[in-house]
Amino acid sequence: MRMRYIELAVGAFMVVGIVAVVAMAFRVSGLSSDSQGSTYVLKARFENLGGLTDRAKVSMAGVTIGRVNKIYLDPKRYEAVVEMSISKNMNTLSKDTSAAIMTAGLLGEKFIALSVGAEDEVLKDGDWISETQSAFMLEDMIGRFIFNNQGKKE
């Protein structure tokens, strides 16, 4: 009887441990099982990513519809290429959809905001988003601001 209790307790202990790891995978690190299979890939070129990272959000009208998969540099055009996986439910994005890199809050994380265009044709798996807007760089803005002010004084 006592041995049976011990075995039960140990079994429960190990199950709880596995559940904890799984819970951390989904709840804390945000791995989601539906990210495979039910998504399709879009690619976009940007002049400057300004701190966009893997697994950043892709959103439309503030709603997350996908994540950034992969980021690499195009060695011929010296531009950053971003591959993002978009949920299959959102398969009605028009050909002239544009992508912009935005910042959540003043110092928050970077994400990609898509805004839909007007054409009837839709983007398919592996297509390129042609209209892109690079990240807003606070440093550039400050630099330009200082430069302009100096110009005024002289």
């Binding site: 307790a9 140990v10 190990m14 951390m24 804390v28 690190s29 697994r55 994380e109």
Partner: protein
């Protein structure tokens, strides 16, 4: 002449330390595998996981919850100065997953389970139970040490996972329910920042290493103790001191290897 004596004493210490390390290495290599006459059974392992792991649950869960709550509160007071309270979830989860979870769990484990292992084994030695086993042709390493070693190696990662999870929820309890950080900001930014392999798995790798080291030190100190009442006390103290130092030192090495890119 005096200098030679000092040098000789120093050399003796070195030789003794090397001998002790050799015995410890032999003990580990010999008792990692199962089998042999009178070897421990599956049931012995289950019993040891119960006494080493299940009975440590309470202290781990309570400690994890409080560590998470303290981190949440301290992080909130500092981050609110910069108006970036939305980074609180990231702060709490990365701190716990990468550092505090594995280290604090291992320290508590050394105090709660390691000392008990040492005391148990050294008392077995003092009451000549180990020699009695040898007389019967049973290998005490396989019979006594193997299940305890494996129980520690299996239990510590499980305890660490629980500690981290409970700690993050403790941080969420303080942040979201007490001081009023937005739920979406806490969990959303955390999920964007934490990577499963980079943070969760690497933290668990640390805890596996700590599990091996802490249990190894505990069983070695017990097995190698002087079989007197004084020796048992000394061995138990040594276990806690050496394993705590080993955990903190190894933590730096592991962090440098896995996160630091050295």
């Amino acid at each position: 002449m005096w200098l030679f004596k000092q040098l000789q004493a120093f050399g003796q210490q070195g030789v003794r330390a090397m001998e002790a390390m050799g015995r410890a290495a032999f003990l580990l290599l010999h008792s990692l595998t199962w089998g042999g006459p009178g070897s421990a059974t599956w049931r012995d392992l289950v019993k040891q996981i119960y006494s080493v792991g299940v009975l440590s649950l309470l202290i781990i869960v309570v400690a994890g919850f409080f560590v998470g709550m303290v981190l949440g509160l301290q992080g909130f007071t500092i981050l609110s100065n910069f108006g970036s309270v939305s980074a609180l979830g990231t702060l709490v989860s990365l701190t716990i997953l990468r550092e505090l979870g594995p280290v604090v769990t291992a320290l508590l484990f050394a105090g709660r389970a390691g000392s008990a292992l040492t005391a148990e084994i050294s008392l077995m030695k003092a009451t000549e139970q180990l020699s009695a086993m040898e007389m019967m042709g049973v290998d005490p390493l396989k019979r006594v040490i193997t299940p305890r070693l494996w129980a520690g190696i299996i239990s510590l990662p499980i305890l660490t996972a629980l500690f981290s999870l409970v700690g993050i929820f403790g941080g969420a309890f303080v942040a979201v329910d007490l001081v009023g950080v937005d739920t979406g900001a806490y969990w959303g930014n955390m999920q964007a920042a934490v990577q499963f392999y980079e943070d969760v798995v690497k933290g668990l790798i640390k805890s596996v290493v700590f599990g091996v080291v802490v249990t190894w030190i505990a069983v070695y100190q017990g097995y190698d103790s002087v079989p007197t009442s004084e020796g048992i006390g000394k061995a138990t103290t040594q276990t806690v001191v050496i394993s705590s130092l080993a955990i903190l030192g190894l933590d730096f090495v592991l962090t440098a290897l896995m996160f630091g890119g050295i």
